[in-house]
Symmetry: C2
Subunit: 401 residues, 2 copies
């Protein structure tokens, strides 16, 4: 049994959102069945007998606000004391460098587009290692709310989870009681909600997850996974915008593997479904999770390329749409779609729901919610209208390119 | 194994929200561990190995819109063909009569207070029996959104659920494979969101649940439960309003049992908790679930009294507060609290979350959501302000009377 189970703050659809750390007290007596749920691949699957049991067993290690950004949130043993650079040897260090660069670049580009709003930064750490930087631009000229967060988490997963992940019987041979398996998770996560109903919402998230070889679990190897995605949620369809967005995703994918775009495009369509409405929250993009069946360096390169593609995929669309005049009805429709966004995030998004139920930095988790949203009873659309076309595309995902 | 499991539409915190009907196709092959989750009493406890497994196994029987309200949604065998009256013999029939009267009375009173808005009614039924009436007043003069729904559900629960409920080994003796257990559930559920930030939101819900004696489960008796509650969610505290509201709840309780008010007041404080924020959504009221350890007629009378208390508890408060001038900042604060209401309903409310994940009439389930809501990143309150006082009372529940 782990001595303590603590949540992460990654406000994402991410396995790394299930990351837990160990620096705190013991409250694991009820803890039994945590394994990690992930997306549609079965490699890490939640097998909790009862989620409520799990949630009761998990508690919060309070994050500590920091005055200044540290050079790295890594533990010294991971290379934190040396300057992080893209030539650092560990994937952990290079991934942290990548997401922090991406955060800087995306925030700078968004401030330029917005023209008025500035990002407010909150830096925090956890006593047991790791930490994060939350940046939020609220009520700008162009953006209603834009959040771009990075976080690094050191944690421990229970041996059951590790066995489930490995799919074998490590330490499951009766006498040997394996201990908890240390892991590392890092990610960038962002949701951008513009004010203008013709400018789409964007979400992106890239993450890296790694287990250590636990000392008391002989033969358990170090394992790693990548996950992430970028997807577009407009209230109105400009076909050229959606084509442009998907084209940039495809270009990033095609540099690495021609099967990536079609596979991750479908994965995205399958994941962002508001099941109780039988509709997607938006017009998709790419999504992948638990990716480890490729060369690790290749996947690090691919994640980097995806993160770098956010600006060229999104900024030109916002530039083009941010000042289009709109009616109150069009604003209301955007607000209704924002309500759907809230429904997806609070009901289905695994990172959000797990993060909420287990603790974590709430303000970072819920920065994904729009500033304002709307729910009308039994809202009906007239077939053929622009609003209907959007909804139709959310119900019946299309091949845009 | 049940042949089919279908959801109800009760948008409530209710066991009856977990009601399922049987009129449809077979898709139960994966269905294994459904029992009914209820509130803090253990009499009906969810023991699903995996909620996702359950959810995948449950499908929607589409409700059928009806042109006219039937006199009763009961099956003929339950007395539907006779005129429902308070002298009808079955508790089912009298409970349906009670909730439909309450719906009429509350809607009429709300229309008077509103002065402009009128309720729009949707009547629907299910082929296998049961149905409901949803009434919504949207964008009135006083109410942003007011929903008052009744529904009647016939369903079948798996034998595991029945065993869990009974807490014994009915049909659990090896050879005997008990069949699914038929049940009946009926309830009224309502959420009222006024426009004025000084007029509080009200929620109430009363429900009755009954199992039949299944023919192939020898010795399984008919069982029944009552549940419900009424609670107040203001954005600003007027102490006289909260005292008045709680006093009316206490009066209703005291007519039946002096232990009811303190017990159900605490139950309410314990249930409506937004756990990830360590705060309640509002200032409470009463809440009870799985109540069957009293005389059945007494509990029917108690539920009726509670439903009748809604108007005297709430309408005078709205009358007093609906026209108070307010600032944009006060409206924003109300909208932020509405966001919290959305968080509770979508993340924690058992009826809503289960209803969403298993199907049911989405528009009835989500009518509880406000017309508009707001999320600000890292919103901070100054100690001692009126907003801070409300939040403090949500964090530290008080004895109001």
């Amino acid at each position: 049994m782990p001595t303590a189970v603590l949540p992460t703050t990654l406000p994402t659809t991410s396995k790394s959102s299930y990351a837990v750390t160990t620096a705190s007290a013991t409250f694991s007596t009820k803890f039994r069945h945590l394994t990690f749920s992930s997306s549609s691949t079965p490699s890490l699957r939640l097998r909790s007998r009862s989620r409520s049991l799990l949630v009761r067993a998990v508690a919060i290690e309070k994050e500590v606000p920091e005055e200044q950004r540290p050079d790295s949130f890594l533990r010294e043993s991971d290379g934190a004391s040396s300057t992080i650079s893209s030539s650092s040897p560990s994937v952990r260090a290079r991934f942290e460098k990548m997401i922090r660069d991406a955060q800087d670049d995306v925030c700078a580009a968004l401030e330029v587009v917005d023209g008025a709003g500035k990002f407010k930064e909150d830096v925090w750490s956890r006593p047991g290692g790791g930490g994060g930087i939350s940046r939020v631009l609220q009520n700008g000229a162009v953006f209603e709310k834009a959040g771009v967060n990075v976080s690094v988490v050191y944690g421990v997963m229970p041996p059951e989870a590790y066995r489930a992940a490995k799919g074998a019987s490590v330490g499951n041979d009766g006498d040997v009681k394996p201990g908890p398996v240390p892991f590392f998770a890092a990610g960038i996560s962002s949701v951008l909600h513009p004010k203008n109903p013709f400018a789409p919402t964007l979400h992106f998230n890239y993450r890296y997850f790694e287990t250590d070889a636990p000392k008391d679990t002989p033969g358990a190897p170090r394992r790693w996974w990548f996950g992430g995605g970028t997807d577009l949620t407009p209230a109105y369809i400009f076909e050229e915008d959606v084509k442009h967005f998907h084209s940039v995703q495809k270009q990033a994918c095609d540099k690495f593997d021609p099967t990536f775009y079609p596979r991750f495009k479908k994965w995205c369509d399958d994941y962002f479904v508001i099941k109780h409405r039988n509709e997607r929250r938006g017009l998709g993009g790419i999504f992948f999770d638990d990716l480890n069946d490729y060369d690790q360096e290749m996947l690090l390169g691919f994640s980097t390329e995806c993160a770098k593609s956010v600006i060229p995929a999104y900024i030109p669309i916002v530039e083009k749409r941010k000042d289009i005049p709109f009616t109150e009805q069009q604003k209301d429709w955007q607000q209704l779609r924002r309500g759907r966004y809230v429904e997806f995030n609070l009901v289905y998004d695994r990172g959000t729901t797990f993060g909420l139920k287990t603790g974590g930095r709430i303000e970072s988790i819920l920065v994904s919610l729009p500033l304002t949203a709307r729910w009308e009873y039994n809202h009906q659309l007239k077939e053929g209208t622009e609003e209907w076309k959007l909804l139709d595309a959310c119900i019946n995902p299309k091949e845009w390119i």
